[in-house]
Symmetry: C2
Subunit: 205 residues, 2 copies
């Protein structure tokens, strides 16, 4: 069963996935970062963890065929397909109101952190904190001497990533509203999602 | 007022610091990683955050003269002096019992995560989660294609880092007991701490 959804530009969305369901995140513009989180359905305090995933993968982000784990090192999302350059950030915190104040914004600015909490509240699953997101399509080159560069996106329109739920979970997304730094090519855009349900076992691993 | 403490090899310790106090962490062996956390004294759920510090510093770790911030992007620890190669990890999760099971250990193994919780309980400040630590002296080179290498330490005996509290806080440490990977030179050792109190304003910034 296929379900097509659209995250409006600069907004968020949370979706319940059962074990085996997949979600495809489409980078329609080719320049849109999508902050992504996952929470176990039976315990929202048990969440996907970038710091544990980095250790388990021996890599900053997982590749096609790799997986993300929780803060208890339990598998939660499997990378079924990565039709992009495979460059995703796992080390930059989600943007939040204070980030935009620090960047000099005088007016309130939408943020990935608020998008996450809005999206979780919308499905009646409020959470206390904003975990480190999986920043899909975000390009943060690491320079010599450990410097972090706010890179422009490397992808092309229509790139996508498909993630499969390795347990019942809630997956939340934010179409990143950042338009001060170049990480979204200065033009935040909407993000199509494709959910496919009921494929348990069809290549789940 | 100076206070000399010693974290036994493979164990943890938590210390209360007032604004302006400093703690010096000594790498006596030259090969010892020290996982470091900080929690605001008035709200233990408000903690030093590596993901927010990376964004604010534009760098994987802070240099001498730089600072670490909390998950609300508020300053918490200032790097007064870094008498080491300046290579510290902020992207690898603290080791925990599951990590050692995954590494093939058949017997229980001490871990940085348990050391943190033991140390916080010892001063009657239990916490719910293990934040991403500042892994002082830990060398994790990032290879091409985003791979993470468990490097051997780069320092020499007697290297040290001095951190100054930019607010009243609890700072916790773990003398990392990892002896399966080479990150501690395969030989976990004790860690001297030097606390200096009452120097408010003496070059705090």
């Amino acid at each position: 069963m296929r379900e097509d959804l659209l995250i409006p530009a600069r907004h968020g969305m949370a979706v319940r996935l059962a074990y085996g369901d997949t979600v495809t995140i489409v980078n329609e513009s080719g320049t849109q970062v999508v902050d992504t989180w996952a929470f176990c359905a039976d315990d929202l305090s048990h969440a996907m963890s970038m710091e544990h995933s980095r250790v388990e993968n021996g890599r900053l982000c997982a590749r096609e065929g790799g997986q993300y784990v929780t803060d208890r090192r339990e598998p939660i999302l499997y990378v079924t397909q990565d039709a992009s350059p495979g460059v995703h950030d796992t080390i930059m915190a989600a943007c939040d109101p204070q980030r935009y104040i620090n960047l000099g914004c005088k007016e309130p600015h939408r943020s990935c952190s608020c998008n996450l909490h809005e999206a979780m509240i919308a499905i009646e699953c409020p959470i206390a904190k904003t975990p480190q997101p999986l920043n899909l399509f975000m390009n943060i080159p690491i320079g010599e001497d450990m410097t972090l560069i706010q890179g422009s996106p490397l992808g092309k329109p229509g790139d996508f990533v498909t993630l499969r739920a390795l347990r019942d979970c809630i997956v939340a997304f934010s179409a990143c509203p950042q338009d001060i730094t170049p990480i979204n090519g200065h033009s935040p855009s909407a993000v199509p999602l494709i959910i496919e349900r009921g494929n348990v076992g069809a290549g789940a691993h």
